[in-house]
Amino acid sequence: MSRILAVDDSTSMRQMVSFTLKSAGYDVAEAADGLAALELARQEKFSLVLADVNMPNMDGLSLVRALRGLPDYKFTPLLMLTTESTPEKKQEGKAAGATGWLVKPFNPEQLVATIQRVLS
């Protein structure tokens, strides 16, 4: 089963993402910020990481940058969860090594559709 790491400092968003993906049959681990996520990612290899951009301690961009530096995450899909739909912000995420992004707000169906496409 594909195991996904969901990273967001907002409890409600994390719960929603996690619940939705679990309902879709994925195995989900959660982290509340980039540092915690990095710690988890070092312990096991996730099939996909879904991270908020703005987080305390370590933001999403730094997390993506750090993950891309790990041999296990060289090619792993790393998606940013963001409300910024401006080209610059996405560019920044891409420059950090993100695979793509999911623009908030999104509904559970959109979330699952995106993840399914990436993990198919």
């Binding site: 409600s12 910020d33 305390p56 730094s62 996405k90 993100a98 695979t99």
Partner: protein, 675 residues
């Protein structure tokens, strides 16, 4: 998938959003407009950003729309496009209020003021210089027979986690895709790097999809490929059998521009996010859970019972032969220790940092100082000091009043301060600290200080009794007398009606004490001493006949054995006792509660002088038993309300002791005296 009910996440969303707003407000208030520091700006931005994201996701569109404006403004500040001004801070603070109201409304509270939301929204738009109605044209769905797409991935596209296969699969879903692979660039296997992309593709996509949909498929890899999207010639021109004709009136976009879409969004320059503040946050939510206070209170009650049972056992064990019962006594002493520790631990769960009240003052001070035209700085010390949640809730009003008093009466305006050779900016200091089993909260200002002559004059004018030859401390106490106000005119800041007498009453209702110290020209400091929790009382136990009463220690002034002649009987049969130069009403507890006494005459008993609300009485008891902490049990909850009694407790020997309601006692005698 469509049956996921998002409402299950609403609670968490509201809670975290309101917390976010508090954090935002606090950060806005400490923001130094001249040189806004990146971390504070970031924190403010992040709060708005999270609320917007959650609101959109959970379907609170009004909140999402409003916070989007907020976020856009903050993004400009964050990226350095906009210098944050004082006006911006004001606007943002008001936006915090509006967002809070909208969230409360969404959470089932009172409806938010729609006009206020609209007005502030318009102000934000104005600040952003957004053309209101001139929303950029949403790219017209240009329907062509289809699209011819050239997709040349860069060689390192795999390293971004993207797979061209996924992209081609998505394209294939948009219509009928004829995919041709260009394998010209493939090297010999021996020369290849396995993780490099050598292939490229040309896709003829036929079907009813607009260019935007095609571009969306490539959105993630825009910078990792060369991309060319051209409309296919229409069905008639091409004669292609599958192609659908373009919809009437729709025009194929001749020169599709990628900038066409999303133009309504303000163009923002984004700078590197920078270091995120680490100290702002308690590490994650994993370390805490939310528990209803009623559960904790039930726990506290049970522990209270346990403490009492334990004390009972201890007392019984005192009569046992220590040699024969050594093991039992050892066990009991261990039980004693563990019970105390359990009690402390349970009490600690109700404790909150006093910051929960302190945090409301920066905003208040800021708003009021603007209103009053004074320059005022607020300093807080010891915000982390913890005390019972119930105490925190009930101390907020008295503290608010004290801070307002300092703002309004205590601190001078800049001109007066300069004339007095002081810093033109006045300072109010809120300080909290633990002292023994108490918390001490100070509200101090460096203002003009109390004016002895003016207070005396005012007291005389108001007919407030003044002791003869009053020392300063007596004069300051006059402020707490009902009906006293030092303001020359009633302002809309301190208001009318609520005076220092109410503050004192509230503090005493919390079993607390309040004191004033002041130095002319240098400032005033009001000190409040409170018990850490409302569940435990520091009491003095007194005996009347066979009964034990508990007197809250904070009301006890002194106790004395009256000399013959010190007690006098007045005409109506009421008796007074002369203590130094004061005549205090005598309150024989055995008469009040109609119980037996060993010492019917005051001279045979002990007088305990009690004070509340600025008035004193002398309670007559048989004997002082001692001081102890007692666990308060509500009499009303367990029996019914009894006059003169505020509660009960269970003593170590299992007997019930009633806790004296000193305030009521004092008021009763004051009424009798007035009658």
């Amino acid at each position: 998938m469509s049956n996921i009910d998002l409402s299950r996440f609403h609670r968490a969303f509201f809670d975290e959003s309101l917390e976010g707003l508090d954090a935002m407000e606090a950060a806005l208030l400490r923001l130094d407009v001249g040189q806004a520091d990146a971390e504070t700006i970031n924190l403010i931005f992040r709060s708005a950003h999270s609320i917007k994201g959650g609101a959109g996701t959970f379907g609170f569109t009004a909140v999402a729309g409003f916070t989007h404006l907020l976020e856009t403004l903050l993004e400009r500040v964050r990226s350095g496009q906009r210098q944050v001004s004082q006006a911006d801070v004001d606007l943002l603070l008001r936006s915090v209020d509006v967002t809070r109201a909208m969230l409360r409304a969404a959470d089932g509270g009172d409806a938010a003021d729609v006009d206020a939301v609209a007005r502030l929204g318009a102000e934000l738009e104005q600040a952003l210089e957004m053309k209101p109605a001139a929303v950029a044209p949403v790219a017209v769905a240009s329907a062509a027979a289809g699209w011819k797409i050239r997709f040349l991935p860069k060689s390192d596209i795999f390293a971004s986690g993207n797979d061209p296969l996924r992209i081609l699969r998505e394209l294939d879903r948009l219509g009928q895709a004829r995919i041709a692979c260009d394998s010209q660039a493939l090297p010999a296997l021996a020369d290849a790097a396995p993780e490099t992309c050598y292939l490229s593709w040309t896709v003829e996509l036929r079907g009813d999809c607009d260019e935007g949909a095609v571009r969306d498929v490539f959105a993630w890899v825009e910078d990792e490929c060369e991309l060319e999207i051209l409309p296919l010639p229409s069905a008639e021109e091409e004669g292609a059998k599958d192609a659908q004709p373009p919809a009437a009136g729709a025009v194929a976009h001749p020169n599709p521009s990628p900038e066409g879409r999303g133009a309504e969004k303000p163009k923002l320059k984004v700078v590197e996010g920078g270091k995120e503040p680490t100290q702002e946050r308690r590490s994650g939510d994993a370390g805490s859970i939310r528990v209803g206070t009623e559960k904790i209170d039930a726990l506290i009650n049970l522990v209270g019972e346990l403490v009492i049972t334990q004390a009972m056992l201890q007392q019984i064990a005192g009569n046992l032969d220590p040699v024969q019962n050594e093991k039992l006594l050892q066990g009991l002493s261990l039980l004693d220790r563990n019970t105390r520790m359990l009690q402390e631990a349970v009490m600690a769960t109700r404790m909150l940092p006093v910051d929960a009240v302190f945090s409301r003052f920066p905003r208040m001070v800021r708003d009021l100082s603007t209103k009053l035209g004074k320059q005022i700085r607020l300093e807080t010390v010891g915000e982390g000091t913890e005390l019972d949640k119930g105490v925190i809730e009930r101390i907020a009003d008295p503290l608010t009043h004290l801070v307002r008093n300092s703002l309004d009466h205590g601190l001078e305006n800049a001109g007066q301060r300069i004339a007095a050779g002081k810093d033109p900016t006045g300072t109010i200091t809120l300080r909290a600290a633990h002292q023994g089993g108490h918390i001490v909260i100070e509200v101090a200002d460096d203002g003009r200080g109390l004016d002895r002559e003016r207070i005396l004059a005012k007291a005389a004018e108001r007919g407030i009794p003044v002791p003869a030859n009053p020392v300063d401390a007596d004069v300051w106490q006059l402020i707490f007398a009902p009906g006293f106000s030092t303001a020359e005119q009633v302002t809309d800041v301190s208001g009318r009606g609520v005076g220092m007498d109410v503050v004192k009453k509230n503090v005493q209702a919390l079993s607390g004490q309040i004191e004033i110290s002041t130095r002319p020209g240098q400032g005033t400091c009001v000190t409040i001493r409170l018990p850490l929790t409302l569940a435990i009382l520091d009491g003095m136990s007194v005996r009347v006949g066979d009964d034990i009463f508990i007197v809250p220690l904070n009301c006890v002034v002194e106790s004395l054995q009256p000399q013959a002649g010190q007690v006098r009987t007045l005409s109506a049969g009421a008796r007074v006792v002369k203590v130094r130069n004061e005549y205090l009403p005598l309150a024989p507890l055995h008469e009040l509660f109609r119980i037996r006494t060993d010492a019917p005459e005051p001279e045979a008993g002990i007088l305990v002088l009690l004070e509340s609300e600025g008035r004193k009485v002398a309670a007559q008891v048989d004997e002082l038993v001692g001081q102890q902490q007692v666990v308060i049990k509500s009499l009303e909850a367990n029996y019914r309300r009894v006059g003169g009694i505020s509660g009960a407790t269970i003593l170590g020997d299992g007997r019930v002791a009633l806790i004296l309601d000193v305030a009521e006692l004092v008021r009763g005698y004051a009424r009798a005296a007035a009658a």
